[in-house]
């Protein structure tokens, strides 16, 4: 009989669909409770994903169900308080990004987890997408050579009518974060870059802008440069460029690889059989073939409603296995600490330009 952990979910917004659908199909977890301030939302989620109970008070959920693991999916401003209560109630915590709204809060929360002897993990889901893992392997096995240059670029239509961020009637809580709505995405940009920058960050420059100049958004654009020794990273967020994308370029001393997590493909320009003369030609053919395959794959994924959250399901599966077997979690303290420290440094650049 495999060990089955009692899982609870706090917050039943958009991302809860991914967490709950994983838990609903995972043979290592049973959903003992879902909590939301709205009774109808909690009941809907509990019913749809076969949770055992619905709650509107997370403290009541903790007392009643005594979960082994809690997924915290509420707005970031509430994470620290809820996570602290969950850890102190004896539950491991998987928390949506950003885990806290400041580096100091992260350190304090981590200290709480240590004190309670519980695990704490921030969601770095895109690191576990198949193509990001492929690029990571190409770096590890030396295919790309020494990494020199990284670019992570995200373009989202946040200002488009109908976007949950453009709603002026009830502004999204993300607008109140230190970096406004970009704070909701900056964790992704940061951990993806840091994955390929093992050295200590020594220089950071960031231009935070609100190009539209309205009062709803604090910033709608970020252009940041991060240096760790010889390794350069550019983190770019735009609410204006089209189409929507989430691209990663990793350039090394031997070649480069690129992907787009929203329309997944892998383009990889590296030394190929045929030597220096024929490598460019072989690269064209190989990448052309890969692009055609990606087109078919992406069309199939669209029809079959597969989202870019495949990495989240993989991350959660690994996390539950690690919790059960008492192994290190797939995202460790060092990953979270570096990410949150860099986010803090980027935020500190907010007033420089």
């Amino acid at each position: 009989m495999p060990t089955i952990l009692k899982s609870a979910v706090i917050g039943s917004g958009v991302i809860s669909k991914e967490h709950l659908s994983f838990l609903n199909t995972c043979d290592r977890a049973r959903i003992v409770g879902v909590c939301d301030l709205s009774p109808a939302a909690a009941q809907y989620a509990a019913q749809k994903f076969q949770a055992e109970a619905a709650f509107t008070d997370y403290r009541h959920l903790l007392e009643s169900t005594q979960p082994d693991v809690v997924h915290i999916l509420t707005p970031p401003q509430t994470h620290k308080r809820i996570a602290t209560d969950c850890l102190e109630a004896g539950a491991h915590v998987i928390c949506e990004k950003p885990i806290t709204t400041s580096y100091q809060d992260f350190q304090e929360l981590w200290a709480t987890a240590e004190r309670c002897d519980r695990r704490l993990m921030e969601n770095h889901n895109y690191r576990f997408n198949e193509l990001i893992q492929t690029i990571a392997r190409m770096v590890e096995d030396g295919t790309l050579g020494e990494v020199q240059d990284i670019e992570v670029r995200m373009a989202l239509n946040l200002r488009e009518k109908g976007s949950r961020y453009a709603d002026e009637n009830l502004p999204n809580p993300m607008h109140k974060l230190p970096a406004g709505v970009i704070h909701d995405f900056i964790t992704h940009l940061t951990y993806l870059a840091l994955q390929f920058m093992p050295g200590e960050i020594d220089r950071v420059a960031a231009a935070w802008s609100n190009h539209a100049g309205d009062s709803l958004f604090k910033y709608d654009d970020l252009d940041a440069i991060v240096l760790a020794g010889q390794v350069h990273a550019r983190l770019r967020f735009s609410a204006y460029t089209r189409p929507e994308c989430f691209t990663l370029f990793v350039r090394g001393s031997r070649g480069y690889a690129e992907t787009d997590l929203f329309q997944p493909y892998l383009r990889c320009v590296i030394p190929r059989p045929g030597g220096k003369q024929l490598s460019p030609l072989v690269n064209h053919f190989v990448n052309g073939y890969e692009l055609m395959q990606s087109s078919v794959r992406n069309f199939r994924n669209k029809i079959m409603q597969r989202s870019p959250y495949e990495g989240l399901h993989s991350l959660l599966a690994q996390t539950y296995e690690a919790l059960i077997s008492n192994q290190p979690l797939p995202i460790q303290f060092k990953d979270m600490e570096r990410t949150n420290r860099l986010v803090e440094r980027l935020l500190a650049e907010g007033d420089r330009f």
Binding site: V14, K17, S38, P39, A40, A41, N169, I303, M304
Partner: protein, 349 residues
Amino acid sequence: MKLLITGASGFLGQYVVAEALRRGHQVKAVIRPASDPTKFSWHDHPNLEQVRLDLRQRQGIADALKGVDAVIHLIAVKSGDFYTQFAGTVIATENLLDAMIASSIDRLIAISTFSVYDYQALGTGKLLDETAPLDRHPQYRDEYAQTKLIQEELYRKFEQEQSGQVTIVRPGMVYGRGELWHALLGMELSQSRWLCVGPNAFMPMTYVENCAEAIVLAAEREEAIGQTLNIVDEPVPTRSTYIRELSQRTPNPPRMTPILWPLMSLLAGLAWWINTQFLETRAKLPGILVPAKLQARFKPLRYNGEKAQRILKWTPKYSLGEAFDRSCSDDDLLTVAQPMNPVLSLSQR
């Protein structure tokens, strides 16, 4: 009566406010904070108070309910993903009902929709009236139908557990100025061409001014308490009649390519069979190829508004042709005459 009308700046809500004012009611019109209330010609009527609120948050709702006799609740979100529509339709309703309970207000005229019915349970050509079953398995319907069904559950709970005096009003497809070419007519293939499914089938249409009058009557009539009322304008038009009349009044109307209902139904059935047999029902197909969605839009059925006409003593004021004429005119349809003996504005009291 003093009526709180939610969704007052919406397509139907603006006409309901106008009708309520014309019938001498005092109106508190709930308008979302970012809306421009001055675009409605009733905005400065002395019997009107504007309440700037977003019902997705609880703050301010109880204050708005002070002194109110009844609530006409029109708010629903028709676009965006499921969670956006859930917040705008379900959570907004939940917050309103909680505030009504706290304020001891029990009279509610809840505006629902024909989308809540189970069209697959009805045979072709059958009568759809208030006794038709609700969709109990809406997972294959659109987000609007799903969230409106949950919203109706909240109304029933309010009625049963809080002794709420509820009238559920289910308008058919509401049409009017700016909303004349709509999803029941067919599928837009391009700007100049539509696919018209089942041209000879009846459509449950109600003109927005007619519907607004029925809604205000539902608030006035005690006989309407505890009732569910379908609102359609009789005689209901066929799809081809509606399109012909509308095309006569539309410059460069789209060309309609007709497709018979049995053929379209067969195509959707085949697509769904492939989806269930080979794709684990996970494929996202266009709505027109999903039988549950196709039938909700195009299934040939019969409709009547007999119950609403009887209980509300209501007869639709405008015929189809008159409704199109008004919709296509330059007349201000929201004008409300000032009272003969103006009373103090609500906001001045």
